[in-house]
């Protein structure tokens, strides 16, 4: 077989595994798509509806408009991570990952396919939340910028999910990363408040959170308001995404915790 033919087969294999991952997201929609939508709607209802009339404006924006970009980033980050990590962990834990490991796929292709499922779930959930929240959203000064920030969020957290799925040997380890790393990052990432209004050390703490820059970039795209250099934030995020994907592919290549 020529190397060109092998490459064609590998591309088909990668597309099939990515398709299987996407299919899993869609077939389990009550577990993968519906819960994050409900969560986001509750956030909008509580913070926008119940408390919104007391807070009025933040940085010149209606409170609901202010928090919506952050909710989208939280949704993409949480769902992308959950999908990649859970799917890989399940395949490994239940043993059927051997079906994929025996296939002639390159490590990077295997990592990419799992990453694609995470990205799909994150973006689908965010799209649904955005549709529901459209009446409360601003006009959107640079929607493409917001989409780019959300895609980069999905890539970073899907890749982290792949790494976690490979690393975790137990449900506890799997839940640990979600609860101790992802949730705190989301909550101190400036979704519900402006970093400028915080006293030290909270303002610095917020600015150390990588999610803050993604929230800020998305907010910049959707409302025109941002506090940091958007392109710098996207550049740094793209670098982090590339590094995370490289680490994930390297772990697959070495067979770390996948093969004895």
């Amino acid at each position: 077989m020529s190397s060109a033919e092998l490459r064609v087969r590998q591309r088909r294999g990668t597309a099939a595994l990515a398709g299987r991952e996407t299919r899993r997201v869609l077939s389990l929609w009550t577990q993968t798509i519906l819960p994050p939508i409900l969560t986001a709607v509750l956030f909008l209802a509580v913070f926008g509806g119940a408390l919104g009339h007391r807070i009025h404006h933040v940085e010149g924006l209606p409170y609901l408009t202010f928090i919506l970009p952050g909710l989208l980033v939280m949704t993409v980050a949480g769902q992308s991570f959950a999908n990649s990590s859970t799917s890989l962990f399940q395949a490994k834990n239940e043993g059927y990952i051997e079906d994929v490991l025996t296939a002639p796929l390159r490590p990077g292709q295997l990592a990419f396919a799992y990453l694609a499922g995470g990205l799909t779930r994150g973006l689908l959930a965010a799209f649904a939340v955005a549709l529901l929240a459209l009446p409360f959203a601003g006009e959107g000064s640079q929607p493409a910028l917001a989409v780019l920030a959300l895609v980069l969020t999905g890539l970073v957290f899907s890749a982290l999910g792949v790494i976690t799925g490979i690393w975790a040997d137990t449900f506890d380890q799997h839940a640990f990363v979600a609860n101790i790393v992802i949730t705190p990052l989301a909550l101190v990432g400036g979704v519900f408040y402006s970093a400028r209004t915080l006293a030290e050390p909270w303002a610095t703490l917020t600015r150390l959170d990588p999610l803050y820059y993604l929230v800020d970039a998305t907010r910049g795209g959707l409302t025109g308001f941002h506090q940091s250099s958007t392109w710098l934030a996207l550049g740094v995020t793209a670098t982090v995404a590339a590094a995370a994907i490289l680490i994930a592919a390297t772990l697959v290549r070495r067979g770390w915790r996948l093969k004895p």
């Binding site: 087969r9 088909r12 294999g13 043993g95 051997e98 079906d99 025996t102 296939a103």
Partner: protein, 239 residues
């Protein structure tokens, strides 16, 4: 002698030379193991638990960390000892996705899946998820999965371990049919001597990660001065 010479001339479906595998805990599972499986044969690998059978299969198929080319994986189909099937897919989808992971086009993979469902009498269960199938059906589906991408060599790792006698005979029937009708080379690992006698044209004994004897069952019986393959096996393990 003539038979051996003919086999040496035959191309190999699997050719392993000097393969060593040491696990992280220091266990040497394969110790400079060499094995040649001639194309077209039904080949048995006999050895006790811990002899290195599963490690050899894992190293060949990419389930164990070992030097291997990705292209070579296209030539090998594996049915592991434990039945692990993707529970999110139906039997037909499971086979088709396997074919697609190996680079088959979608339509071709679906046609091949239907063909194998028929061969293994699973057509009526095409839309059923694996966890809704009986133990025997799940075993058959696992073997069918190993065949989807039309490998040159099918490796069956103890396919009848832990199954009742009735199911064992049923699986033997399928395995004979598979070898005769699909024309593939089969490498079967087992620690049931009667299974090797019933199915295999050639047999290798493996112990402590090394091949200690190889040949047609009759040759092995003669070589070890025994009356039956079972005695030859015991003698080989004793030496």
């Amino acid at each position: 002698m003539t038979e051996t010479t003919d086999l040496e001339r035959t191309s190999a479906a699997l050719n392993v030379e000097g393969l060593t595998k040491v696990y992280a805990d220091g266990t040497t599972a394969l110790d400079a193991l060499s094995l040649r499986v001639p194309a077209g044969t039904f080949f048995g690998l006999l050895g006790p638990n811990g002899a290195g059978k599963t490690t050899l299969i894992g190293a060949t198929a990419g389930l164990v960390r070992a030097p291997a080319e990705l292209e070579a994986r296209l030539l090998v189909g594996v049915a592991p000892q434990e039945v692990h099937l993707d529970r999110f897919l139906s039997a037909r989808e499971l086979l088709a996705y396997h074919g697609r992971y190996f680079g088959m086009a979608k339509l071709e993979a679906l046609e091949r899946a239907d063909e194998l469902l028929e061969v293994f009498d699973l057509t009526g269960k095409a839309k059923t998820k694996p966890n809704r199938l009986s133990g025997g059906m799940r075993r058959r589906l696992l073997i069918a999965r190993a065949l989807v991408h039309r490998p040159r060599l099918v490796i069956l790792d103890e396919p009848t371990a832990g199954v009742d006698l009735e199911l064992r005979y049923e699986l033997w029937r399928y395995l004979r049919r598979l070898h005769a009708e699909q024309g593939v080379t089969v490498l079967l690992t087992t620690h049931y001597i009667e299974e090797a006698e019933a199915l295999c044209e050639r047999v290798a004994f493996i112990r402590a990660g090394r091949i200690i004897g190889e040949g047609a069952p009759g040759e092995l019986v003669t070589r070890y001065g025994s009356e039956r393959l079972e005695d030859a096996y015991v003698e080989a393990m004793r030496q």
